[in-house]
Amino acid sequence: MLETVKTLRDMPKEEYYVPGHRTCAGCGPALVYRLVAKAAGPNTIFVGPTGCMYVANTSYGCGPWAVPWIHAQITNGGGVASGIEAAYKAMMRKGKYTGERPHAIVMAGDGGSTDIGLQALSGMIYRGHDVLYICYDNESYANTGIQTSPTTPWGAVTTFTPSGPAVPEGKRLWPKDNAQMIAHGHPELKYLATASPAFPVDLFNKVRKGLNAEGPAYLHIQAPCPKGWQFPSNKTIEMAKLALDTGMFQLYELEDGKYKMSYMPKERKPVEEFIKLQGRFKHLKPEHIEKIQNFVDQKVKAIEIEIAALS
């Protein structure tokens, strides 16, 4: 069992995601990865589907992991992790491996989790593999130069959703809610949570709860991206906090069939405060921002109603 912690000071000093990689300054996913590796500890195998944390991070000769790590295609993180878990189960049962069973963690981007790799994720959870699947959600296909993914917000500009006279708002689709989709269709799921680098202790503990669960667990972690969202690289945590304070993202966990909110802002700020700081939204007109505000109001209401009803 991995113990949960009360404060940052209680976290172990050891790092398993070490300096030397090539991610951008202020990279949200890199901050998340460090916390995840710290929480998981040395008895861990990481599966890294293609994405930022592969292309910008796992360069030959300067990969940051102090634990085993294997590349997966952007399509198949859930499948590769299923295989690792099944291999250890079989080898231990048959006496071919006698050590401690390692944790298996997938660290996949939003494209690899909610889009092209969704089937592999769903299959892994449906089959009950004891794997922690983490989506680090930076809200775009970022390593290819910022293209829209299913979690890119409505109205955000990407290189595939530019704003122009015929399409002034940029992206015209509302984002997919992967956590809710995973939560509601997978009876084998043992633990699910959303997390944010704005609350590192909460994130750290959710990783440990996911690993302690005997069966599949899913974490959806919002990971602000200075390049894709277009904000200064020293504002990553501020951006993560604002997403929570405006309701653009919510923190909760689903444990033993019960939802629990992890963070509720005392007073929700207007989404404009989040939007106005990011270049990806700078083309938006007041009527566009109003649309986003309405969407967020509905979503927050739905989540809170649901959580209240189930808990």
């Binding site: 030959y60 085993p68 294997i70 997966a72 499948g79 690792i84 099944a86 291999a87 390692p102 592999a120």
Partner: protein
Amino acid sequence: MGKKRLISGVVATAEAVRLADVDVITSFPIRPYTGIMSELARMVADGELDAEFIHADGEHAQLSIVYGASAAGARTFTGSSGVGVTYAMEVYSPISGTRLPVHMAIADRTLDPPGDFGSEHTEAESCRDQCWIQGWAATPQEALDLTLLYYRIGEDPRVLLPQYACQDGYFVSHIAGEVEIPDEGQVKEFLPPYKNKHSLNISDPMIIGAQIEPEMGPPLQYQRYIAIQEARKVIAEAYKEFGEIFGRKYSPFVEEYMTDDAEVVIFIQGAHSVTARNVALKLRNHGEKVGVVQLRTLRPFPTEIVRDVLSRFKAVGAVDNSVNYGIAGDGGVLLSEARTALYGLGDKTKTVGFVGGLGGEVITMEEFYKMYAKLKEIAKTGKVERDSYWLPYEL
């Protein structure tokens, strides 16, 4: 000594997988290979085989799961047919490039359209350049033997490559033949446990598959390129030892039938070679100097052996049970590669292609008679009027 049973290719393959004591099996249904998985599922349910049996969410997932399992150190088995084989295409190169000796059975089936269940080598041959060991079994016995041979060859530390053990759908997979099932002691002697020192192990952490710069790719590709060439030696060794332990002696690369003084031969792989042999035997009874050369290993292609063997004849008819639209010579892979092997030896041996048995049709004895007649004519006149004939429309 093992016991003899009358079983189909799919059951024979499952018996070999049981004997190989695999750890992780991944399934997804598609005919006709499905029978292998049904049999393995039964073995697991009955306690005859201790393995993780995973119902994957598609063929791409099947291959993804065995990639992870093999990297963790497990012996793995998967398989497919037809469009299932091509659906998993993305994962074949990562598996061979990571040097994981994953084993995959392919019971051949046509590609769509239309939704034809029939046997064809098209889908398996479309994967031939992914650096997997590949060859065809022509009988259920060969299907069992090929499975054991390929685990041994692929897991050899000098090779470390995945394998496609192919069998013709229905003709091999679903028609029973007499199969000698070896005993476990023989298999233990032939097939040592799988050990890969580059596995995902917390006591020896390593990064597998790091992102590289353009100039770092070619050295890795070159290692794979050498590995599959070097595999030829290991294949020959493994077949020799197989014969010593199990008593069934195969020629590892090409099997010759009635070729001693032959003037013309059919060059073929898989189940249709059995019909070709029957026809050759009948023609021999009429004094015709004909034979059959059965290709046993498509990858690595035994270039020198094929050259040495085929160059002894006046005319060679390469029979392709696949469609390769627009290929040089408008035949198939076997014609193209036989010609490549023979290139540079002058024009002594004439070659011609026959595309047949498509859609799962049998290549009839009558068709083989026609092919031999065409070859005889070519040998006599020394003239090749056209590169290939698509049966039955063009011959």
